[in-house]
């Protein structure tokens, strides 16, 4: 019996290697992969009319953390403290369908942070119904 052990061991190793090679992304491990940190930043500015909205699409190449910051809100070139509806979701139809939405004023810290799967997402900025005039907004998006 003893002389058969090396052969069986070799077979077992080969089987495990084959299993690893074949399994690929469908690993049976129960540990979720660590979300990738944000490594890229995109920013945009747009002007929204009273009662209007705008959106911007971006691609997240791998599962990871995204952070959205409403960096500026201006009317007539001057900063204002109006709160706007800031959301993140998926482009749908002729707009953006936010799955998360917060009321935000301009700041330097992210108002939305979320862990998302790889895919295409969008940020939407909308007037909640309080803007008195066309308003220029600036948004920064950090993602993997």
């Amino acid at each position: 019996m003893r002389r058969h052990v090396p052969g069986i061991r070799a077979l077992l190793v080969a089987c495990l290697v084959t299993a690893a090679a074949c399994n690929g992304k469908s690993s049976s491990s129960s540990t979720a992969p660590t979300p990738a940190p944000a490594t890229q930043t995109e920013s945009f500015t747009a002007t929204i009319a009273a009662g209007g909205s705008t959106f911007y699409s971006f691609t997240v190449p791998v599962n990871g953390i995204i952070s959205i910051t409403l960096t500026s809100v201006q009317q007539g070139g001057a900063d204002v403290g109006d709160a706007l509806a800031l959301g993140v979701g998926v482009p749908q139809g002729t707009g953006c369908n936010p799955s998360v939405q917060v009321s935000a004023t301009a700041g330097v810290s992210p108002q939305i942070s979320s862990t998302v799967a790889a895919g295409i997402y969008c940020v939407q900025v909308a007037d909640p119904g309080t803007l008195p005039a066309p308003t220029t907004v600036g948004v920064s998006i950090a993602h993997p």
Binding site: H4, G7, L11, A14, C15, T18, A19, A21, C22, N23, G24, S26, E42, F44, A46, T54, F55, Y56, S57, F58, T59, V90, P91, Q92, G93, T94, G119, I120, C122
Partner: protein, 255 residues
Amino acid sequence: MTKSRLVTLSLLICAASACNDNTTPTTPSGSQTEFTRTEIYLGTLAPAGSGFYSFTLGTDGRVELTLNSLTDPSSGDLLDRTLTLGLGRPAAMDCAVTSSSDVTPGFGAQVSSSIQAGTYCVRISDAGGLPASADFAVRITLRTGNVPPTPTPGTITFASQVIPQGFTSRAFDATQNGTLTVRLDALTDPAARVDIGIGIPPGSGGGCAATRFLRGVGPGASVSLDVIRASYCVTVRDPGSLTAPLGFTVLIDHP
């Protein structure tokens, strides 16, 4: 059992267990029943303008795009102008097109592509041929699975009546790609005239967003169109000359 047989059996078991990827379809490849979803992108395009529409496909599949109509907003007349229809991915404030085609309004597939699960967009743009703003309708047909339903071509008899200033519509399916023929077979008053429109059902609200018209026609008038496998509708309406309800019979010969 000999050693060689033991090794062979072990390798077979090993290979079977190692490569038993849980993403393997539970049904054999080639036997997944097709699922079709349609979205209609309606909008108004300005001269030299563009617009886009985003949609998401949950699993790998196929997309077919058709510019079904391009009409004058005031008269409703069909405009035979060329626009660029593209498929791509939403990016920043636009749609980054990866494939496109110059098209005129029709009912066939004008841009088609196999796509992986994900979010995509349709972009429509005018290269300068539009003299004024125009209303458009783009049909986005999304198919997953690879076994289409069994085609059931046939002829539908659409017999009803249209009242003065009114219209009557009927929806139907083209069960495979092919030629659709719509023929006005009879009118209760053979001297009367009607408009017959062919288009796309706008949704659950009924009606018919007709995009191709036979205007002011009598018995015997017909039109044939190349269509893709999808839902369509026929509408019969008063061209403005009816003074009493008018009975009609329209034959819809669909693929």
